[in-house]
């Protein structure tokens, strides 16, 4: 029982990331009909927003402290971040400590802007072109964004630690009345899951309960009619692209303590997120979320030793590496539209 619970919990953080990226992909696809291969790059840019903010916060004045020496015998250089000078010792170091959550505020305007510029500057011109062209141009854009990040920040992963109180693990089992030390779980993963559940809820609520969302949903169903009613649907869809970019960016921001940002993390997630979208059903938002969590949890179950042993016995070694692809293949063969796909989407 506790082993099963632990695997479900372990699957949640990856599943959350898949779900958030797949949600953004589906939003873009459902509104604009564009397949965005640069979505993984948006996830990565989100993670690098944290790195940037961290660098800005750690900008320091250097003063030489003549009373102390370092291990080489030179006078010790003391670095004091500006932020500490401005807000005092306690507040300043607290701000630096909380740089990852603060990066959410930092990332939202940046990601909205990036999304807006991307849509207006590039993707707008590709609505009438074949899907192959859309894939190719966004693929090229993904390479460019990735290489720009690599040129600016280097090829090595940059650690971005979570706030101190969320570091380390806690005994999750005790919370729900199980034996001690049965289910040990890192704090930050729980935070990540809660955060992504919140974001997913917000996106759905936005689409369901606001007039803007209603118009967008109407546009997804029948773009032409909405346009004939005198509503500037293109403008709303552009904003939705910005929102989708922000969702991917926030997924990246919060994922940065789990996996130190590096320039190719976007592509690693993108391939799996596409599989998630296909399994969930192209164009279905609940499908994307459901498939994201399901595949994340399945992946974590497949890494259990018992499961691995079982599959090894039937000559399928290292099932955890390929489980997602296997599931995708089976789903596409049995139910080609995906779990919750509608008829007539991308079927020409």
């Amino acid at each position: 029982m506790d082993a099963i619970l632990l695997q479900i919990l372990n699957g949640l953080d990856k599943g959350s990331a898949y779900a958030l990226i797949a949600l953004g992909l589906t939003l873009i696809f459902g509104t604009l009909g564009v397949v965005n291969f640069a979505h993984g790059a948006l996830f990565m840019i989100g993670a690098f927003c944290v790195v940037t903010l961290q660098k800005i916060l750690n900008l320091s004045t250097v003063a030489i402290d003549p009373t102390k020496v370092d291990f080489l015998g030179n006078p010790l250089k003391v670095k004091t971040p500006y932020i500490v000078n401005w807000f005092g010792e306690a507040a300043g170091s607290a701000i630096i400590n909380w740089s990852v959550p603060l990066a959410i505020l930092f990332a939202i305007p940046i990601m909205l802007l990036v999304g807006y510029v991307m849509e207006r500057g590039l993707i707008k011109h590709f609505y009438k072109r074949p899907h192959a062209d859309q894939i190719l141009v966004t693929f090229g854009l993904a390479i460019v964004l990735q290489e720009i990040i690599k040129a600016c920040y280097g090829a090595n992963p940059i650690p971005t630690p979570a706030p101190e109180i969320f570091r380390g693990s806690f005994d999750f089992g005790v919370w729900i009345g199980m034996a001690e030390n049965a289910v040990i779980y890192p704090y930050w993963r729980l935070v990540y899951f809660a955060f992504s559940a919140l974001i997913i809820g917000l996106v759905f609520a936005f689409l369901q309960f606001t007039t803007f969302g209603m118009v967008v949903r109407a546009g997804m169903a029948d773009r032409e009619t909405v346009g004939l009613l005198g509503i500037n649907i293109d403008k709303r869809f552009t904003i939705m692209f910005g929102i989708a970019a922000a969702v991917a960016g926030l997924a990246g921001v919060m994922y940065s303590p789990i996996n130190s940002p590096n320039y190719h993390m976007g592509m690693d997630f993108l391939v799996l997120s596409f599989v998630v979208v296909v399994v969930g059903g192209m164009g279905s938002l609940p499908g994307a979320v459901l498939a994201g969590f399901t595949l994340g949890i399945l992946e974590s179950f497949a890494s259990m030793n018992e499961v691995k042993g079982f599959f090894e016995a039937i000559y399928l070694p290292s099932i955890d590496q390929i489980i997602i692809y296997l599931v995708a293949i089976v789903i596409l063969l049995v139910r080609p539209r995906g779990l919750m796909g509608r008829a007539g989407v991308m079927e020409e």
């Binding site: 397949v35 590039l122 011109h125 072109r129 074949p130 899907h131 192959a132 062209d133 894939i135 190719l136 141009v137 693929f139 090229g140 854009l141 993904a142 390479i143 460019v144 990735q146 290489e147 720009i148 040129a151 592509m267 391939v271 596409f274 599989v275 979208v277 296909v278 192209m282 070694p317 290292s318 590496q321 390929i322 692809y325 995708a328 293949i329 596409l332 063969l333 080609p336 991308m346 020409e348």
Partner: protein, 393 residues
């Protein structure tokens, strides 16, 4: 220019054979006349021709073709390890294994079309890549890559007593032997490996031309134009697309096998998505759906990759030394992002530019320019001749 040749296949073929065989002489003045680069032109030319049979003719955009290249490389190296250093069995095995592998992947992926197909092939390629790194280590030798060793059995070859690794050969002709000639201060290098690859490229080109002109090729073009209409007329398109997929997979396997022939090691990084993207780029850049385009695109990219990645900041400073200091530093600072290790950035930008402005590739650009010149020379009434007839997809 190229349109005229396409009307006359024999001329095109002769022109192509001449270009390829005279490669070491023609390209020597451009600093590309050395065997390693020439071999890469041929190998990636074959790869791109094969990819074009799938993408250019049927319109199915595969993002996983590098997997077949990798499989071809691995099987060729295994043949070198187990059987003989002769390249023929290695290539045969590489083509067969890549063909079987693409049959399997194609059978599943081709159940969907459009974006689903692209994603499925991408997923399969990534799966093969991660498998090659992890579980399949006994076969692929993981991150180190598969290499020759001294104690490999090589049952058909005479016992190796020299104490050094044997080199690949074609019935005794060693692949890396090169004849050098000096002529008017220029060095021309004629390499056995290059000529072997060149013959393969010519054969591959000939076969592709026959496919393009055959009823089968016509059927593939019909699939690209409108698959629904074909289905309504009662044609089952699946066998045709699958055949095209397997053929292009076998081309990729041949290219991978040749890669192992010229340099007998194989690594998983050949299967990564960037490698798949590269062949897509080559095809698009040259002009997908045309015969000569993919070879041209492959040559173009490999040539500029070679040139660009050699340029570093010192070279740039040398070029712009005539400018005032501040300006020179600024220009060098801007440019150094695009050269050397930043070559991929240039590649990505190039990729986007081509897709945005020249969907028909370089060949379309060339024919535009030719039309433009003709339009200037003749009266203004003969304008650009129907741009819609160009391969715009």
């Amino acid at each position: 220019m190229f349109d005229k040749f396409q009307n006359n296949d024999r001329m095109l073929m002769l022109f192509f054979i001449f270009l390829v065989l005279a490669g070491p002489i023609l390209l020597a003045p451009f600093g590309a006349g050395y065997p390693d680069l020439l071999q890469r032109f041929c190998i990636f030319g074959i790869f791109a021709i094969g990819f074009n049979i799938l993408f250019g003719l049927t319109g199915y955009l595969s993002f996983g073709h590098a997997a077949f290249l990798g499989v071809g490389s691995y099987s060729a190296v295994w043949m070198f390890k187990l059987l003989t250093m002769n390249v023929i069995p290695a290539l045969i095995l590489a083509v067969i294994i890549a063909g079987l592998f693409s049959l399997l992947i194609g059978f599943i992926s081709l159940r969907r079309s459009g974006i689903y197909f692209s994603i499925l092939t991408l997923a399969f390629a990534q799966m093969s890549f991660s498998l090659a790194y992890s579980v399949l280590t006994p076969i692929t030798n993981g991150e180190t890559g598969l290499q020759l060793t001294l104690d490999d059995p090589r049952i058909l070859d005479a016992a190796n007593t020299s104490g050094s690794l044997p080199s690949t050969n074609f019935f005794g002709l060693t692949m890396n032997s090169t004849a050098k000639f000096e002529f008017f201060g220029m060095v021309f290098q004629f390499n056995v490996g290059f000529y072997f690859c060149a013959v393969m490229l010519i054969l591959a080109f000939y076969l592709a031309m026959r496919i393009f002109r055959s009823p089968f090729g016509l059927m593939l073009k019909a699939i690209k134009t409108n698959q629904n209409r074909l289905n309504y007329t009662g044609v089952n398109t699946r066998p045709y697309t699958l055949a095209a997929f397997v053929i292009s997979g076998m081309y990729a396997g041949l290219a991978g096998g040749l890669m192992a022939c010229t340099d007998p090691l194989a690594g998983a990084e050949r299967m990564q998505w960037t490698a798949s993207g590269e062949v897509v780029l080559m095809t698009i850049l040259g002009g997908s759906g045309t015969l000569l385009g993919p070879v041209l695109g492959a040559g173009f990219i490999k040539y500029f990759e070679n040139i660009f990645s050699k340029i570093n900041e010192n070279v740039l400073h040398g070029w712009f030394s005539f400018l005032p200091d501040g300006l020179e530093d600024l220009i060098v600072w801007v440019l150094h992002f695009f050269v050397g290790k930043g070559w991929h950035l240039t590649l990505g930008l190039l990729f986007m530019m081509v897709v945005i402005f020249l969907p028909g590739g370089l060949l379309q650009g060339a024919s535009h320019i030719i039309d433009w010149i003709r339009g200037k020379k003749q009266s203004s009434s003969t304008q650009i001749s129907n741009p819609n007839s160009m391969p715009a997809e």
